[in-house]
Assembly symmetry: C2
Homo-oligomer: 281 residues x 2
Amino acid sequence: MPVIDSPQNRVPKLLRALHTKKGREESGLALVEGPKVVEEALAAGRLAFVAWCREASDEAGLRSILRAAEAAKVPVHELAPRAFAATADTVTPTGLLGAAGLRWLGLAELEVPDRAKWLVLCDVRDPGNAGTMIRSADAFGVSAVISLGHCVDLYEPKVVRATAGAVFHLPLARCEWPELRAWAADKGIATVATDLGGKVSLPGLTWAARTAILIGNEAHGLPEDVLTQADVRVKIPMSGRAESLNAAVAAGVMLYAASAPLRDTHKKDKQPNTEGLDGEK
Amino acid sequence: MPVIDSPQNRVPKLLRALHTKKGREESGLALVEGPKVVEEALAAGRLAFVAWCREASDEAGLRSILRAAEAAKVPVHELAPRAFAATADTVTPTGLLGAAGLRWLGLAELEVPDRAKWLVLCDVRDPGNAGTMIRSADAFGVSAVISLGHCVDLYEPKVVRATAGAVFHLPLARCEWPELRAWAADKGIATVATDLGGKVSLPGLTWAARTAILIGNEAHGLPEDVLTQADVRVKIPMSGRAESLNAAVAAGVMLYAASAPLRDTHKKDKQPNTEGLDGEK
């Protein structure tokens, strides 16, 4: 394909539009930036097309990802500097952009394994926090991430960047609390509210086989109706002066703690002598 | 004091200089932004002066912090909009800035309690990550934070902001690895390297009474000499597809896990019936 030079060309104009929620919802696409995230979108089969700029990139560094995209029949567009500059307000340091398909599932479409956990973001506003939480959710084997209330759009470019690509591997759903609550009750999923004023201390929590972990807004925590109606309000014990954690750190600690009982079960079921095995890894 | 109007006045010029490391080291001051962080610097006895702009602020919201500063004999400067605009490239949304004293301790000056943990940041580059780690360190009762190698300056404005003020409450030290290693050996402090390739899985780690937790660079982890010479290399077990966590989340999980044995000891020593007490909190 010829090098695209005009900033008015459809490709740079579309990429630029993906910075806005309207642009994403109209096109059904999210912006992906840099080789790592483009690679993850491609691996997840979600990459619609890529665009790169020879002058703005370390060409050798992009060669393998561009070849992989071509091999997967994903259109690859080369943009001249002035067309590439039109794709964003700031310069993309790696010279590589892409567009990947949005995918939102309904609660009814989510898989409900016998043992599983879900991460529910409620009114999380900071894109970096939301993205980091999705990355942790992927690392700790969460079944799906659910966006509740006035959360930042999980396909916003800053969120996608902070997920390091994990956003394309995890099922995402969005709904309101009453719907989530009914679904959880129906499926036998315990709802665990993370709350600075929680009555149960995290290490003392008995984890249900199916658990949804709820994380609230950075400044205000979870809304009152969620706090009162959740099955349990749990507090991360803090021993220091400040009783405050960054929301993404709190989510990470919850997910780590929630993984422990699963690990124990796996040990009992399959690996009676895991101590030694761990040492061999 | 009269309202400062000139951008050439010493107060706005000094505040602006605090955006650079040179400006901070020359003046021995760090920039603090917004009521929350200014309040923490004041509470720690570290606030040198504050500056605010009536037109850029919600005056009522600042009244209590300005009064508290005056009561503590901390100079309060009112800046006219054009002088305030000169303090930074971007607008400070809260209309409140301050300067707080830097404080770096040598390893020899750090307290070494019988039971304690230290957080060591090695080549951490992202200011938001470094600040979030310091905030977690404060929340989980860390004794001091130590900066090693090519870490971002822990008094950079973005770091200070991400600490939510915790940076003024925790002792900070900086050194190189051989010095840290010798100090730890001398004081009987176990050095625990957080490492994706670690041989010991975090839940199986036996925590020493005195432990230094080492966190490495976002992309490259800890340097080879640290990995080979640390007492133990520990891995946070991940069950998901991506074996990768944000560095600040990894640090938070390590600190949470390190707090558990201390909690257990406290229980045994002082609170045989903590379960019930926890429920009352």
